[in-house]
């Protein structure tokens, strides 16, 4: 047995940049999995990816699969021979399937159920050369390729046309055919800075050989080079380059030999909203944009080229020539859009469908408007501003700018509102009403924006639940999960005093379709439970509050209660109170029909009277307490009295009347607790 390194490379036409890294990672995983399945030992599988190649290097791969003991169970001895001592059909078939003619090769195994024939043999391990083609065929088939393509007159399919396939074990070329191409040890270097074929003499030379031909095969290495080049420019220019990780990954996948170049554009473009300029540079040109220390956009950009040009100035000038019309277009859209008022844009929403069963965006805008005003009313914010912002918040969907750069929705509406003379609060609200856009994103900064943001999200939520299209594990096209979380975060993090159930009911009414909002409310509370889990807050705390009878429809105070209970848990009385509540819940579980009040004359011990007397006192105290923490504290103070009760009193007395009376006492205790929280839920 020996070990060598193995190299596999498919050299292709330019692969899709956004999936390149995923393809590489999956190829590495699949190759490792296949080799493991076959019991071939190896040290490591490394993956490489450039626009024109995917490769793996398997280091120290053994050439031989270990031998495997094989044991196959045959027919029972009793069923193996007929009365004349001849092999039965069952035995003949078994022998055939084992590939033996001499029946004496079969062994017998005695089991409690009888004696059986067994065939034992050692299957010789296979050589890597006989299975490797299969390993890579399977690994290639498992690649997550969105659309496979064909080329020429071939029926082969892959991400892009394939030109070379390397398959080498040490310096030996392993014979195989992929995509109609015979494996070899030949590849090509950089498309322009290298000419002719490259012969790889040994898998270990791969990286070096490609580097000599102006290809950095290692994805991370290439990304690091780009980061370093960006850092150098930052230092040289005394400015900051904004690096979006997704863009960095994309440009890494677009070059084999990165060379960062900085260009500039005319300062007059800076009068166009900078988000639009950034979008034009980023989404169309894959440029990084630059800012000064105060975060202001600079009229400069960085492009990552794929060549050490013998005339870099020409490349920079070329790029500058491209960005100018792009920015001109952004400016054109910005001016064109402003020729129409937001109110007129709004009218055009009549032709834009929000959801087939739920009508147009114009109708949605009307509902958002009313709902935002309703929410603002509860918040004590300006209802007219909320109504106005809600009405206009979707108008930018029909503007040219948002048509060109959909990611600017909301933001552009904000700009156009300002330009159209709307109040600053209204414009800000429009600009921010899609917030939060992702987990951890910022929230709308002003009250009007919070009202509109919630109104928009809740309208969508109530509508889709109303037509029975709630999100499922796999399908959530309207991102209801994220939007619900957004509502929860706004309520809690902004400490809003609103009754979410009333808001949902209002949202339902606005549809005029008799939508039932109960399931929406339940969904919202479920999402809230998940949200707490994500914050490592135990689910039981949430359930304890949800189980209490205090109003659970004010999410902000709900959250304060959750935090209080969490704090309460670390108090000395907590454990015994939780235990007592669980005991109460257990004892009272089957006593639904119990009704009436405890009769003090039936008490037999002082512990009973003490608990009973404390109930009324506690209830009075609770009624006077003005915050949740003190209510919890008042309940916590009951702990010694309850503990003494359970020590001294046998609840399940033989005497029916006494037992019932005691259960009634306990029920009163439980009810008192439940007004605050269901502590029995705590673990």
């Amino acid at each position: 047995m020996e070990t060598r390194d193995l190299l596999f490379e498919i050299q292709t036409e330019e692969l899709p940049p956004k999936s390149l890294n995923k393809l590489r990672q999956q190829l590495v995983r699949s190759v490792a999995d296949e080799l493991n399945k076959l019991n071939f030992a190896f040290a490591e599988v490394q993956g490489f990816a450039t626009p024109r190649r995917l490769a793996v290097l398997v280091s120290a791969l053994t050439d031989q699969q270990p031998d495997q003991k094989v044991e196959r169970k045959g027919p029972a001895v009793a069923a193996a021979w007929d009365a004349d001592g001849n092999p039965t059909k069952a035995l003949q078939g078994f022998a055939r399937s084992c590939g033996i003619e001499d029946l004496s090769q079969l062994e017998q195994e005695e089991t409690p159920k009888g004696t059986w024939l067994v065939y034992r043999s050692v299957e010789q391990g296979k050589n890597i050369r006989t299975v490797i083609s299969d390993v890579f065929t399977k690994a290639l088939a498992a690649l997550p390729i969105e659309k496979r393509m064909r080329w020429g007159a071939s029926r082969s399919e892959f991400v892009r046309p394939v030109h070379h396939v390397i398959l080498m074990y040490g310096s030996e070329i392993l014979d195989a055919t992929f995509f109609g191409l015979k494996s070899s040890n030949i590849t090509t270097g950089h498309r322009f800075m290298s000419t002719g074929d490259i012969t790889i003499s040994n898998p270990n030379d791969y990286i070096k050989a490609l580097q000599d031909h102006h290809v950095i095969a290692d994805f991370e290495a290439r990304q690091n080079i780009i980061s370093q080049q960006l850092a150098d420019i930052e230092q040289r220019e005394n400015a900051r380059i904004v690096i979006d990780p997704a863009l960095l990954e994309e440009v890494t996948a677009l070059v084999e030999w990165p060379v960062a170049l900085m260009g500039s554009f005319d300062e007059t473009f800076l009068s166009v909203p900078e988000e639009a300029l950034i979008s034009a540079m980023k989404s169309h040109q894959r440029y990084f944009h630059m800012i000064d220390d105060s975060g202001k956009l600079l009229p400069r950009f960085v492009t990552i080229s794929n060549i050490e040009s013998n005339n870099p100035t020409a490349v920079i000038q070329g790029n500058e020539r491209v960005i100018s019309p792009r920015l001109t277009d952004a400016g054109f859209f910005f001016n064109q859009d402003q020729k129409t008022s937001l109110d007129d844009h709004l009218a055009r929403l009549e032709k834009v469908v929000f959801q087939a069963e739920l009508g147009t965006y114009r109708e949605k805008a009307g509902r958002i408007s009313e709902l935002a005003a309703f929410i603002a009313g509860q918040m004590g914010a300006d209802q007219n501003d909320a109504r106005r912002a809600g009405l206009l918040c979707k108008a930018d969907l029909v503007t040219d700018m948002v048509g060109e750069f959909p990611e600017l929705q909301g933001l552009m509406g904000g700009y156009y509102a300002t330009a159209g003379g709307e109040k600053a609060d209204v414009a800000t609200a429009i600009a921010e009403h899609y917030l939060p856009g992702f987990s951890g994103d910022v929230l709308p900064s002003n009250a009007i924006g919070q009202a509109v943001a919630m109104a928009d999200k809740l309208d969508t939520l109530v509508g889709l639940f109303g037509i029975n299209q709630p999100p499922t594990g796999s399908r959530d096209p309207f991102a209801l999960r994220r939007q619900t979380l957004g509502v929860i975060r706004i309520c809690i993090e902004k400490g809003l005093n609103i009754d979410i159930l009333e808001v949902l009911q209002k949202a339902g009414e606005l549809y005029q379709k008799d939508f039932d909002v109960t399931p929406v409310f339940d969904y919202l509370l479920d999402r809230m439970a998940n949200w707490y889990q994500d914050q490592q807050l135990p689910a039981d705390v949430f359930l304890a509050v949800r189980g209490g009878q205090e109003n659970v429809t004010n999410l902000s105070s709900f959250n304060q209660r959750v935090r209080s209970i969490q704090a309460f848990r670390s108090q000395p009385q907590a454990e015994s109170l939780i235990g007592a509540n669980k005991r109460l819940a257990n004892i009272l579980r089957k006593t639904d029909k119990l009704s009436g009040e405890a009769d003090a004359s039936l008490f037999e011990s002082e512990a009973e009277s003490a608990l009973f007397a404390s109930l009324e006192v506690t209830a009075n105290l609770l009624a006077k307490a003005d915050n949740y923490e003190s209510r919890l504290q008042i309940l916590a103070d009951l702990q010694p009295i309850i503990d003494r009760y359970f020590e001294d009193v046998m609840v399940m007395a033989d005497d029916d009347r006494i037992r019932t009376n005691r259960l009634l006492t306990l029920k009163a205790v439980q009810s008192l607790f439940l007004t605050v929280a269901d502590l029995s839920e705590l673990q």
Binding site: G152, I307, N311, S324
Partner: protein
């Protein structure tokens, strides 16, 4: 090789691709949104027959009108279209050779193939490929057709679409379409603006403000009916001309924002249904003729598939 003027560029490309065995066709004499609509691309991509052609095609994209004010966006511009069926193994290299032929040094410029998959919902067609960037500017679309008119492409047609004006900006080192030298005689230069500026301004106004929306709607309906009538008469080439007309009427309506978002989808589906009908009828007509331009093995593959009812 001279590429000093816009027309030199065209001559050079024609010569280059003629030398690669392409039939040099002339522009189709109808309004189209892209060179792909030319029957030499759309119809020839269907079925087993080999084909190589190259031609200039003026393209009309009413919504792209900027009254001649955007340096590189016009509602009427030229594409140079190359189709090679089957796409050759050295397809990309051939294209790069054509750039070298135009005097572009790939060691000087940053030339890249950037993923850009092509889909034409109205033609029921899609393909995978790239836009070719030179120093960040898209100068060419490069596509391997996978499906056309709802039919699988086999062999695959490789399509190259040069944006002639953008390419010329580079070759001539100017910033704006208007400044391009279209032709030169002695000391006299005719610029692109001399040839097209007034047209661009007038047509932008027409597209955005003066087209007759009502008439366009009724024309669309008429073109649709004609296509269907001609398909019934088994005249796929004639029917196809009316698909092109319908498609252009749709584009004009779109430029007027006359078609709402929901209606838009419906119009696209209507044109697509027509394009599919034409594709199928054209395929049948070629099958009847015995696919004369096909390689024998691929023709046999098709005949077998057809016999199996596929």
């Amino acid at each position: 090789m001279s590429t000093e003027t816009f027309q030199d560029l065209i001559f050079t490309l024609q010569k280059f691709w003629a030398d690669q065995g392409c039939v040099i066709m002339q522009p189709y004499d109808m309004e189209v949104g892209a060179g792909t609509f030319h029957p030499a691309t759309f119809l020839r991509s269907i079925g087993p027959e080999n084909w190589r052609a190259a031609y200039v095609q003026p393209c009309r994209r009413p919504t792209d009108g900027r009254y001649g004010e955007n340096p590189n966006r016009y509602q009427y511009y030229y594409q140079f279209q190359v189709v090679l069926k089957p796409s050759p193994e050295n397809f990309q290299e051939l294209y790069l050779d054509s750039l070298r032929h135009l005097g572009i040094d790939p060691l000087e410029h940053d030339i890249r193939f950037v993923e850009d998959n092509w889909e034409s919902p109205t033609l029921g067609a899609w393909g995978l490929g790239w836009e070719v960037w030179m120093d960040g500017m898209e100068i060419t679309q490069f596509t391997y057709f996978q499906q056309v008119g709802g039919l699988e492409c086999y062999p695959v047609t490789g399509e190259i679409t040069y944006g002639l004006e953008r390419l010329a900006l580079y070759l001539q080192g100017v910033e704006d379409f208007q400044q391009l030298a279209y032709a030169r005689t002695g000391n006299q230069v005719i610029t692109y603006a001399d040839v097209f500026h007034q047209y661009e301004v007038e047509m932008s106004a027409f597209n955005f403000d003066y087209s007759n929306v009502e008439a366009l709607f009724s024309q669309f309906d008429f073109f649709e009916e004609e296509t269907q009538r001609l398909l019934e008469a088994r005249l796929p080439l004639a029917a196809y001309e009316f698909v092109m007309k319908a498609s252009h009427a749709f584009n004009l309506l779109d430029a007027r924002h006359a078609i709402s978002v929901t209606e838009r989808q419906r119009f696209i589906l209507r044109v697509r249904a027509l394009a599919r009908g034409v594709a199928k009828a054209y395929f049948d007509s070629r099958a009847e003729a015995g696919f004369p331009l096909a390689e024998p093995d691929i023709r046999d593959y098709y005949l077998k598939e057809m016999a199996n009812g596929n």
